[in-house]
Symmetry: none
Subunit: 224 residues, 4 copies
Amino acid sequence: MPKPASQPPAPSPATSSRRTPARARGHLRQKLKTAYRDAILDAAEGLLARRGFEETKMSAVAEAAGVATGTVYNYFTGQEELFEAVMERCRDKMAATLAPAMSESDPMRRLKAIVTCLFKFVDGHRELAMIRQRNAARGSTRLARHEDEEEAVDHVTKALIATVDEAQQSGALRNDIDPLLLSGSLSGLIEAHFVHWLQRGGDAPLADQASNILKIFQEGASTP
Amino acid sequence: MPKPASQPPAPSPATSSRRTPARARGHLRQKLKTAYRDAILDAAEGLLARRGFEETKMSAVAEAAGVATGTVYNYFTGQEELFEAVMERCRDKMAATLAPAMSESDPMRRLKAIVTCLFKFVDGHRELAMIRQRNAARGSTRLARHEDEEEAVDHVTKALIATVDEAQQSGALRNDIDPLLLSGSLSGLIEAHFVHWLQRGGDAPLADQASNILKIFQEGASTP
Amino acid sequence: MPKPASQPPAPSPATSSRRTPARARGHLRQKLKTAYRDAILDAAEGLLARRGFEETKMSAVAEAAGVATGTVYNYFTGQEELFEAVMERCRDKMAATLAPAMSESDPMRRLKAIVTCLFKFVDGHRELAMIRQRNAARGSTRLARHEDEEEAVDHVTKALIATVDEAQQSGALRNDIDPLLLSGSLSGLIEAHFVHWLQRGGDAPLADQASNILKIFQEGASTP
Amino acid sequence: MPKPASQPPAPSPATSSRRTPARARGHLRQKLKTAYRDAILDAAEGLLARRGFEETKMSAVAEAAGVATGTVYNYFTGQEELFEAVMERCRDKMAATLAPAMSESDPMRRLKAIVTCLFKFVDGHRELAMIRQRNAARGSTRLARHEDEEEAVDHVTKALIATVDEAQQSGALRNDIDPLLLSGSLSGLIEAHFVHWLQRGGDAPLADQASNILKIFQEGASTP
DNA sequence: CATGAATGAGGCTTCATTCAT
DNA sequence: AATGAATGAAGCCTCATTCAT
């Protein structure tokens, strides 16, 4: 509706020359901008998860988002920034997902809560989860490439490390292993379950397996 | 060094184009071909490990191998086949490395032998190992991509699965977990150690940590 | 400042959409239109002088003018017409600047007056002057491009040609040289002084040098 | 002729396995490379002169040179380097053209020789000359842009400045004018003649007009 | 009309592959 | 066969222009 000629209330005479109040229009614009931005991010996220970083062309992202190629560049300066934004949003969502788990005070229970949260997240955001996994690989290779660059460790990884460390100090976990290595081991177990789940088709809910992981992690694989 | 071909005596310049009997020449040819092929594979392997799949250009491979770009295409039909050949050779070397471990009859001892062999291999072929890790990530994403394609599971992975299965049946490992998941967990632990080792700079010998892994795998991380 | 439009009294919010009688409103409209148009031209002029033709983007012009990109297209059909309009306005201003000089009847005095006017103009409108110089180069190359296109010779150039011609016929200037070439020579001298002035930083008033130019033009560079 | 099977002289048995002697082949390659490079430079030169810097697309250069787009990038890293190379070759040719004039010891005669050389050059290389002129404009605008950048003054300009300076010190040219301004004035005169010549169609030989220029420069335009 | 984001044609550049020598 | 330059398809990005609000 471009021209609602009658302005019944006309709240403020000063702005009466504008058909739509500036504030409302700005709000609309803002919403539209966010919608576009999100659509692009969503499209990129899906493609990144499905095809990987190198196979994700800007034009494909634009098409998937239902916009023109140039539009993408109105929201992101370039490919790198777009992908980075996807990763960041991914990290943010993961961090948000993790938040409730972090309030658990007992370290072992917190570990379990973390894993449960993670898997709940994966159940709801398979694509994001796949990106995260890819990026983990990317991360470790980058590490090999520029061994001195920034750490950029995942929020989740950090949480695991801290919690494992705490559990070791509280005597709940064995003390004869570098906490970094131990938390890495837990990460490896988590990823193994994730991969296993993917290979199974990703149908069954993953969250149920959190206790499985911790069972293995805590008790080991030997016959009890 | 693509040209180790020794030129025997070369009796007379006039007949030099037919110095060698046909059979011997064929043999020489064969050797030369193999030498070229290997040089190219070696170069590709190094670059793949160092720069990754997407950053490894055919011209760079050629240069690193000391041949012309076109030559690469005399030995491989294209980039994909070349990289595939590198991966295959990598898998073969891994399989060969694994062979002695497989002769161990007791499954638990065999598991430890496998891990030890793996880490010995990594100590000696860091580049190959890095490729393998990269490819693992690649593999799992590919899996997602063409979920119905070839299995292409690693020899090592197969060995682990079979051995874990055997150990479960012999009662050495807990029976309440899918053998695929259990062996995947072991793989995850192995990779976690590998990554940890990479992050530490990859200096210390990795083989020493085989027992560490199995300790965690068997006993778990809880305080004994 | 595209909006100098003073809003008279604005008697009642309810009738605010019809504050002004139609004729007055038309007048206002006209003024507003001109104000916008001028703002855009001014912005374009500044950017053209500063960044050059190829580096001057429509969006930058709009921003500098304080309007939206699309608005520019309400006043000019496109980039070419806008730039052409800038050039035309530039030519017009030059012509206006030149007017007083043209009333001088003696050709030699008129030449000096023209040069003086030119330099006064440059002193006051450095940007326009720079555009004019740029366009001179552009012009001569365009000439080469579509050798048959419009003449589009500058008003100043025309004035110089006519005056030089007159001076030749009056015997004040040598007759053995094509008047076009002779006036071109004077133009060249003028431009040389302008460039020299630019390279010196463009600080000192340029108008003082008018007599220098005419000295060289009339007497030549040899020791008197 | 790819396979001249008979190698009559066979100078050195060691290289007999190569059909074509390495040196000869290298020579051929070198020649071909130079031919390509020159073809590209020539094409770029023509387009730069005809269409200008901003209108000269890489693909057009390639097409004009009769090569594929990518080929251009085998010889120049990018557009900037290509254009720079054209300009450099242009400068070099100009410098070479100027060389004989510089051996003249008397400054006034040298000035005339320089102008004559310049015009001879223009007669033979109209395109290069046009590029030079464009670049002069470009140069002076660049100057305005980054007023502090490198000087990058033309060899010709330098020669003129030095010679004019010398002529002033020898008393042949008036001393009451900044030598830079005086040589600039001469440059302006030269360019004016060049432009005039272009506008006349560039048919008549330009070199004949060298004396005209110096006449004006030395004696001025007033009736003698 | 003003707005300013969407559009998409078009430019520059890269690199896997081919091919004449 | 080896060579290495030529090729051109394809990707990223810019920016003049359009158009819904």
